[in-house]
C-alpha cells in the first residue's frame, strides 16, 4: 500500500512542483541572462537544494514503482514473497539512486 501511495504522491509532487520549476527554468533561459540569474539564485539557495533533491527522490521513487507496475502489468511478480520483496525494494533502491546521484554531483563534480 505504501508503494501505491508513494507512486501517487511523488507523481503529484512532480506534476505540480517539478513541471512548475521546468517551466520557470526554460522561460528564464529564453528570457535572457538576468532572468536566468534569478532562477540560479533560487536554485542555489538551501530551499532550492531541498526542492531539487526532493524532486530527484520523487523521480526515482516514481520510476521504480512505475517499473514495478510494468512487471505487474505483464502478469508477473504476483507471488506473495516476490511481490512483498519488490514493494520493499523499490523505495529503497530509489533512495540509493538519489543519494548516489547527489553524491556524484556534490562530491565528485564539486
Amino acid at each position: 500500500m505504501l508503494v501505491s501511495i508513494l507512486h501517487r504522491a511523488t507523481g503529484d509532487g512532480m506534476a505540480l512542483v517539478g513541471l512548475g520549476l521546468l517551466v520557470w527554468w526554460l522561460g528564464a533561459l529564453a528570457s535572457g541572462p538576468a532572468a536566468y540569474e534569478t532562477f540560479l539564485w533560487a536554485a542555489d539557495s538551501w530551499v532550492g537544494m531541498v526542492v531539487l533533491i526532493g524532486l530527484t527522490w520523487a523521480f526515482f521513487t516514481h520510476m521504480m514503482s512505475g517499473l514495478r507496475h510494468f512487471v505487474l502489468d505483464v502478469g508477473a511478480g504476483y507471488e506473495l514473497d516476490t511481490n512483498r520483496m519488490w514493494s520493499i525494494a523499490c523505495p529503497i533502491i530509489a533512495i540509493v539512486l538519489t543519494v548516489a546521484l547527489w553524491a556524484y554531483i556534490l562530491l565528485v563534480k564539486g
Binding site: G11, L22, L29, A30, S31, G32, Y36, F59, L101
Partner: protein, 128 residues
C-alpha cells in the same frame, strides 16, 4: 435511470470508451518519460557548469532541443493523465469535477506550450 443504488446509477450508460486508451497512453508516455529523463539527467550532470552561456549553448543545439521538446510533451501529457485520475478519484460533485478537469487541461496545455516555445526560441535564435 437507476434505482439509487451504485449499479443503478451507471446501468445502461455503457462505457465511456476512453478507459483503455487512457491506460495505454499513460504507459507509452511512461516509457518515453523514462528514456528522455535518463537523457535529461545525464546531460545535466555532464554539463561543465550551469552558467547562462553553457546551458543555452547546450540546449540550443538540435541534438538537445529536439529531445527536450519531446520530453516536455511527454511529461505534460503523462502528468495530465495522472492528475485527471486523482481528480476523478476524489472529486465527485460533477460541477467541481468539470471545473477542475478544465483547469487541468488549460494548465497542462498552457504550461507545455510555454515550455516548448521557450526551447524553440533558444534553438531558433541562438543563445539570446
Amino acid at each position: 435511470m437507476g434505482n439509487g443504488t451504485s449499479i443503478g446509477k451507471v446501468r445502461g450508460l455503457g462505457s465511456a470508451h476512453h478507459g483503455a486508451h487512457h491506460w495505454l497512453v499513460a504507459r507509452t508516455t511512461a516509457i518515453s518519460n523514462l528514456l528522455l529523463m535518463v537523457w535529461f539527467i545525464v546531460s545535466l550532470v555532464m554539463l561543465s557548469d550551469y552558467s547562462y552561456a553553457s546551458v543555452t549553448g547546450w540546449l540550443s543545439q538540435p541534438i538537445a532541443a529536439v529531445p527536450m521538446i519531446l520530453l516536455i510533451f511527454s511529461l505534460f501529457y503523462h502528468a495530465r493523465l495522472g492528475l485527471q485520475v486523482v481528480i476523478e478519484d476524489y472529486v465527485h460533485e460533477s460541477g467541481s469535477k468539470f471545473a477542475l478537469l478544465s483547469a487541468l487541461n488549460l494548465a497542462a496545455i498552457g504550461g507545455g506550450a510555454f515550455a516548448i516555445f521557450s526551447v524553440a526560441r533558444l534553438a531558433l535564435t541562438g543563445a539570446a
